[in-house]
């Protein structure tokens, strides 16, 4: 599927410097990078769901589940009351983190199919600000002072953050790998673009 010319063209074109002609090596590199990012995000999100499933299964699987919970513990408070439940156990991360990661996955999946003008014109600075502001308001005392924060507000603000982050960061990540893998001569061309 990744060798399909349509996907190759989309992903290579998605690298923000559309003015630089992408040769077949660069197109393939962009596709492989995109695939690696997609699989990594997919595995990360799968771990969030697998943690409660493994613990509910019991036996040896429970050990894997507990390891997954411990892995996500460093990046999330994992408060059960603030988490979605699966088979009576909370997911690996809280509602807000879940929304962020699954929206990031959705953004990564959608990225090659976005209209080209959207990918080229969207400024990462504006995207980041638009992503961060609602979540900061919702997660801090500002949100509590203005309205009652609920699971829905956490899902919406976290989801928006994850989605916009993927759209802001994916072109930069693809561009970075192209720069890292190019020769100094090609690098100059890429950075000039």
């Amino acid at each position: 599927m990744l060798d399909s010319p349509a996907i190759l063209g989309y992903v290579a074109d998605a690298v923000n410097s559309a003015s630089v002609p992408a040769d077949s090596f660069q197109m393939r590199l962009s596709t492989v990078t995109y695939a690696v990012i997609l699989v990594s995000v997919l595995l990360w999100c799968a771990g969030i769901i697998l943690a409660p499933l493994c613990v509910a299964e019991g036996g040896d699987a429970a050990v894997v589940g507990r390891a997954a919970y411990q892995m996500y513990h460093g990046i999330c408070h994992q408060v059960p009351e603030r988490s979605f439940n699966l088979l009576g156990h909370p997911l690996g991360v809280c509602v807000r983190c879940c929304s962020i990661y699954f929206a990031f996955l959705a953004g990564t999946l959608l990225f090659p199919f976005l209209p080209a003008f959207l990918r080229r014109t969207a400024s990462p600075r504006i995207l980041l600000a638009a992503a961060l502001l609602p979540m900061v308001v919702d997660a801090t005392w500002i949100g509590s002072a203005l309205y009652h924060t609920t699971t829905l507000t956490r899902v919406l603000t976290g989801g928006l953050f994850g989605l916009l982050m993927s759209l802001a960061l994916l072109p930069e990540a693809l561009q970075a790998v192209r720069e890292l893998c190019s020769t100094p001569h090609q690098q100059k061309g890429l950075s000039d673009a």
């Binding site: 411990q70 892995m71 408060v79 059960p80 009351e81 960061l169 990540a173 890292l180 690098q187």
Partner: protein, 177 residues
């Protein structure tokens, strides 16, 4: 053209900030906000690097952001593991009490959902096992890299659009009679 500045020092500064945030009790709660502390380290590494760039040097590139963020994550992991061990040795269980007192003095302890305080105590009392050290060295460079990319997105030089070339001078033809 002068060479680019080294990436080790800015990454080290970012890593130290990352490690301190991750290891100091209370401050480490910032990482519950989608690894904000770790991403901040990567972001700041790009900021420090950008400050070292002088006019005439090659521009900041996205690969610089990735390298700085990931390297800051490696330094941050080392600093946080060492500092966490030191904090555990020095404070014992006092850090849990400190966070509880802090939350109570701010009046937040009653507002937290039931089970939250127990979760915090459990998390802080768990110590730093080998598994957590391994996870630290995966998570920190990964989220540091994302922080570095965010830093690049914020600090990247604005693209100068090529201006249209001036129109060619009119061709002098033979004078009409």
């Amino acid at each position: 053209m002068p060479n680019k500045p080294g990436i080790v020092l800015p990454a080290l500064y970012g890593g130290i900030i990352m490690g301190v945030i991750s290891a100091v009790p209370g401050l480490s709660l910032l990482n519950c906000f989608c690894c904000a502390g770790i991403m901040l380290g990567g972001f700041l590494a790009v900021f420090f690097y950008k400050k070292d760039l002088t006019p005439g040097m090659p521009l900041l590139t996205s690969s610089d952001g990735v390298k700085l963020g990931a390297l800051a994550g490696v330094f941050g992991g080392i600093v946080s593991v060492i500092l966490s061990k030191l904090v555990t040795m020095m404070l014992g269980g006092a850090d849990e009490q400190m966070v509880k007192d802090l939350l109570e003095s701010m009046g937040l302890a009653d507002q937290l959902p039931p089970g939250t305080m127990e979760q915090i105590e459990e998390g802080m009392g768990a110590g730093l096992g080998l598994f957590q050290i391994v996870i630290t060295f995966i998570i920190d460079p990964l989220f540091g890299l994302i922080g570095g990319l965010i830093g690049y997105s914020v600090f990247k030089p604005k693209q100068v659009l090529p201006t249209a070339p001036p129109p060619p001078p009119p061709v002098q033809g033979p004078a009409q009679q």
